[in-house]
Symmetry: C2
Subunit: 294 residues, 2 copies
């Protein structure tokens, strides 16, 4: 399942809980568009904010709405015992894989992070993807640690942060040299995805793919066909959106964009997160309208 485009939808959530119908519609839309897999309860899916019960419920909704497209479910939490509970719930919900980030409060050392993956991976009956996202976890993996973890049973993929296009090929090759051959390497950081795919990544774990799957599939397919120029050009057409992602945070931008497209209503981010203010929403709407008109 670790190939092509893995699309990460928002889990629309307000003080009243998850908008279950809205979430199911977001997932079904990705399945209809033909994404290769769906990443439920990723960072954009708000995994860190939801209760165990909400997460178990969201995992079931995602699998049901995905219409056979494999669903990977985020199981991260600050405490290992909670991660193990989330893994159990995700598997019971029918997840085809799980995604685990070493979320931290007290800064973690390498042995603690290795221990987390060791404790969790051995209990799994589905593959695990290591989620390397220092911007939210505040943990930085060494390649040596990636290698140790990737050798654990059931570890099947690594999701790495964005890399500038001119460094992507070398970075991915270096990392692959530390990993077992059957472990996939996927890129994230949407603005860098075309460069990562052109540079040899197996797949793209995509925030925007959870909202505009056709646009992201076109980039992914162009790179897979070896047309790196086309992949880059298609990504460059989205650059006003990448600018907004950097400025406001991608979760707030896709929240406002999904509202603008009429897919969900607001508020849809778990407090203390807030939706964008009216001026920023206008920016998002203008950029989105321009992209959809092209």
């Amino acid at each position: 399942m670790f190939t092509g485009l893995s699309a990460f939808p928002l889990t629309p959530t307000s003080e009243d809980g998850i908008d279950e119908r809205g979430f199911a519609n977001l997932v079904a839309r990705l399945s209809a568009a033909g994404v290769d897999s769906i990443g439920a309860l990723g960072s954009t899916g708000g995994y860190a904010y939801l209760t165990r019960e909400e997460r178990a419920r969201a995992a079931r909704i995602a699998v049901d709405a995905a219409g056979g497209v494999p669903v990977m479910v985020g199981i991260g939490a600050l405490r290992t015992s909670q991660v193990r509970a989330h893994a159990e719930d995700a598997q019971n919900a029918g997840a085809s894989a799980v995604l685990l980030a070493p979320a931290s409060y007290q800064p973690l050392n390498d042995d603690e992070v290795f221990g987390l993956f060791e404790d969790v991976s051995r209990e799994l009956s589905v593959p695990l993807c290591v989620y390397d996202n220092p911007g939210t976890t505040h943990f930085t993996f060494s390649d040596e640690l990636h290698g140790r973890i990737a050798a654990l049973p059931n570890v099947a993929a690594v999701k790495i942060p964005g890399i500038p296009a001119d460094q992507a090929r070398e970075r991915i090759a270096t990392l692959r040299g530390k990993l077992p051959r059957d472990v996939a390497v996927g890129v994230s950081g949407d603005q860098f995805a075309a460069g990562g795919l052109n540079g040899g990544a197996d797949l793209w774990f995509s925030v925007l793919g959870g909202l505009l799957p056709e646009h992201c599939l076109a980039i992914t397919r162009a790179a897979a066909d070896g047309d790196s120029g086309k992949a880059t050009a298609l990504s460059d057409q989205l650059s006003p959106l990448w600018t907004l992602f950097r400025q406001y945070g991608s979760i707030r931008v896709v929240s406002a964009a999904a509202e603008h497209l009429g897919l969900i209503t607001g508020p849809n981010l778990p407090r203390p997160l807030r939706g964008l203010d009216p001026a920023a929403r206008k920016e998002v709407a203008a950029v989105l309208d321009q992209i959809l008109a092209e």
Copy 2:
């Protein structure tokens, strides 16, 4: 209650849950030593790792064991609705104050952090202390934001990170200039505490105070008596411990030290956190034995 020494004990926690007897003993020991207040479920108290039920139970144990010494309880969480629930539980347990850090997964902006404190503070019937700890929350307060939040109802104190001694007086005076006059300023970062107290802070929120209350009270009382030289000298005697705090993280050092003193047994940190390895434990034991022999 925001004066003198506020001592923050560990909440000894293993995969089996909280060691309730061990925790009660740690708290009772602080009360017997005469600390001015006790901070239960601070960062060292593992608030971020515990379930709602564990936190409610720990709050009750702390209040019961404190023998009338006021107890402040940490209520932070990634989601506002969880913070509100923790605030309710802490107050029901008899907390004299609550402590709130803007813990983050998605990076928070100023309006979101202000909104968090606004949503929570208005429902309180006890004072709130703002917990500014960028090392764990990854949020950096501006003084302007501190001023906005400190003007909210029930906000009574600010816990700020450590400041080098030569900058403490100016830093504290600058911050006070932004706050209502009745809002207390307390320092943390134990190695910097003497400088902060000498520089005019109202109190010290102390990790080591949760383990060696007499030593920390001696520093606090010297500063309160205007004997800044004595406060500094007493703190300097503990400098091998401050070095270990920086090297291994204070939570791991106080965990090993409490075991060495026979106060609790291991493991006592919630996984993925791990206790120190044998070599580091020997360092902790040697430093502690030296300090206690003086």
